[in-house]
């Protein structure tokens, strides 16, 4: 085990799907220790089921390590080793002139997208990605590494290559969809690096505003249906960029650049009769929207309006007896929903959890650099 990389994959043997155990009746309280065991297991060895997500290895690592931090179990993590592992995914430009060549010199998502360095020590075929870069910086902050000491200039200057004329961001220079997810990654990267030279802020803001739908929520692109994830990306980005104040509702909301009353009403209606949050109107409740929509409400100052007891009840039906959370009640857990289940419990101020920085999606301690 000691010779493996952090978060290495299990090779895996195919097993009979029908043979998978099914979770029994819901547990009646937040099972911190089981969750620590769940994230700890993923930290030691990522099950082979996650192999198809290899390209997003840093994202899987972020959920695992930040999850342990939320659970106050960061002692399970070898911080120095994780920091040097994360730094090894960095895409380095050969020289300053390269920063204008259209590519992005952030972090690769995994070894698979990274090419070994040539005889001069230069890694060609750069495929740095915005989401991986956000996750890399978030992990580094979580393990107490001072990210202001890295060569941030090359990240920020080359990030401008990814911004489109409409203000949105492409995640990788090789070509990919552009939407609010990568606007959020770009905003979070600038915020964490304490330097906004990585984007044209006015353009970014205009793109976000174009995504607010007729019902008050935000779609992932202009014209698309309002969506909990899109709404989080929009509101958290505006907050990180300083375009909206914290706890807007206690101030004069009508003067805001977005329609706050309509947004608040849309968010409030996402809590469904089963107590959970849905991501879109007339869809089923899903664990992760307790974070995506809950965090928006927290940023706006409206979290106090939700029915916390009902939400807690719903989340407990998604809690697995093996630790972790599933998307829907009484299913098997996965890493993504386990992370957002824990962030949701942190928003609910569950004892035994570190407080959450809603707009960065990680612990307050990591966001503030207090470790």
């Amino acid at each position: 085990m000691a010779t493996r990389d952090p978060l290495d994959f299990d090779v895996g043997v195919e097993e009979d799907e029908d043979g998978a155990p099914s979770p029994s009746s819901p547990l009646s309280y937040f099972e911190r220790d089981r969750h620590v065991a769940f994230f700890g297991m993923l930290y030691d060895l990522m099950p082979y089921h996650y192999q198809s997500q290899e390209i997003n290895r840093l994202t899987l690592a972020f959920f695992t390590i930040s999850g342990l931090h939320l659970l106050k179990a960061l002692d399970r993590v070898d911080k120095d080793r994780v920091a040097s592992w994360v730094l090894s995914f960095r895409a380095h430009p050969i020289n300053q002139a390269e920063l204008k060549n259209g590519q992005f010199y952030g972090f690769h998502g995994s070894r698979m997208s990274q090419f070994p360095p040539d005889e001069n020590g230069v890694s060609v075929c750069n495929a740095g990605h915005l989401a991986s870069t956000y996750c890399a910086l978030a992990i580094l902050k979580t393990v107490g590494f001072n990210i202001l000491t890295i060569d941030k200039e090359s990240i920020l200057i080359s990030m401008r290559n990814l911004q489109q004329p409409d203000g949105s961001f492409m995640p990788v220079h090789l070509g990919a969809e552009t939407d609010l997810r990568f606007v959020y990654c770009a905003a979070a990267i600038c915020f964490m690096l304490e330097d906004w030279s990585g984007m044209d802020r006015e353009k970014t803001k205009d793109y976000i505003l174009n995504c607010q739908s007729y019902d008050g929520g935000f779609g992932l692109m202009p014209g698309l249906e309002s969506h909990g994830g899109g709404t989080y990306c929009a509101v958290a980005s505006l907050r990180l960029m300083g375009y909206i104040e914290d706890d807007l509702l206690s101030k004069n909301a009508t003067s805001s650049i977005i329609n706050v009353p309509l947004l608040l009403d849309w968010c409030m209606q996402r809590q469904a009769i089963d107590g959970g949050f849905q991501g879109r109107a007339n869809k089923s409740s899903d664990t992760c929207y307790a974070f995506w929509v809950g965090a928006v409400l927290r940023i706006l100052g409206g979290y106090k309006f939700i029915d916390k007891i009902a939400l807690r009840g719903f989340l407990l039906t998604c809690q697995s007896e093996f630790g972790g959370f599933s998307k829907y009640p009484r299913e098997l857990p996965d890493l993504y929903h386990s992370y957002y289940g824990c962030t949701a419990f942190s928003l609910l101020e569950e004892p035994g959890l570190n407080p959450l920085c809603a707009e960065l999606g990680m612990t307050d301690l990591a966001a503030l650099g207090i470790l």
Binding site: S52, E177, Y214, P261
Partner: protein, 261 residues
């Protein structure tokens, strides 16, 4: 993957490189470098792009929620141009017939309409989906997209009267359905005054009971255009009890109401 790395580094744009990308995509459909290289090879070999669409379709059958796949599809359609339009809109329809709220498919559909056209039948399509399921918010959203952006309908103001009728009918049929309420509000996006003053709407929507409650909620979303304050207070009182999940919210709303003159 080492084979792929070698062939990518050597920039070998050959039939065997194309086959290798196919294999790599099957193993890891999220690898954007592989997709990117596949596009370079397709261009170099001048491959039949209709065949490429079939290839994408086979991948989509196993995982239609892969972002790279949809981006790749867009790249192919851009090259095929408006000839591909009818087939593409038809294909998206068949994907939506299996998963009517597939966000990727809706996003792609909006892109096709904007890039290649095909708006003529889109309102009918929305109509059809809403007849199947009036609670389908993706279809309501698409309807809004069409009435506000279609070059054939003359814009929001031109269609407003008939769309108001449509949404009011839907509200009367299912007062608990959030979608038509939001849609109705959206039809008066920048003109809440007209919505509040429209007698036809208030006569239908401000009926007692369920409809009455929901109407006021939907109508009253702005601090600057208060309804009769006593009525609004009464509504908040009702909601505080019947919508207990949001009781704190309705109390807060009530306290934010302007003082009655």
């Amino acid at each position: 993957m080492d084979y792929f790395r070698a062939i990518y580094k050597a920039d070998e744009r050959s039939p065997r490189a194309l086959r290798l990308t196919r294999r790599a995509i099957h193993l890891n459909p999220g690898n954007y470098t592989v997709w990117h290289f596949r596009r370079l090879v397709l261009e170099a070999l001048n491959t039949d792009l209709d065949e490429e669409l079939d290839f994408i379709q086979r991948i989509a059958n196993s995982n239609s929620k892969n972002y790279q796949l949809w981006h790749h599809r867009r790249w192919v359609i851009e090259r095929l141009g408006s000839n591909a339009r009818a087939k593409e809109l038809h294909l998206i329809k068949s994907i939506l017939s299996l998963d009517v709220k597939n966000y990727h498919a809706w996003s792609h559909r909006q892109w096709v309409l904007q890039a290649l056209g095909g708006w003529e039948d889109e309102l009918d399509y929305c109509q059809q989906l809403l007849e199947q399921d009036i609670f389908n918010n993706s279809a309501w959203n698409q309807r809004y997209f069409v009435v506000t952006r279609s070059p054939f309908l003359g814009g929001l103001i031109a269609v407003r009267a008939s769309e108001v009728r449509y949404s009011v009918e839907a509200i009367v049929a299912n007062p608990n359905n959030e979608c038509p309420w939001r849609y109705l509000r959206g039809l008066y996006k920048d003109d809440i005054e007209s919505l509040v003053n429209d007698r036809e709407i208030s006569s239908v929507c401000l009926k007692p009971s369920q409809e009455f409650r929901d109407a006021v909620v939907a109508l009253w979303t702005s601090d600057t255009h208060p309804l009769d304050a006593d009525l609004a207070t009464a509504i908040c009182d009702i909601l505080e009890h019947v919508d207990s999940l949001r009781a704190s919210y309705w109390i807060w709303r009530k306290n934010k109401l302007p003082i009655a003159a």
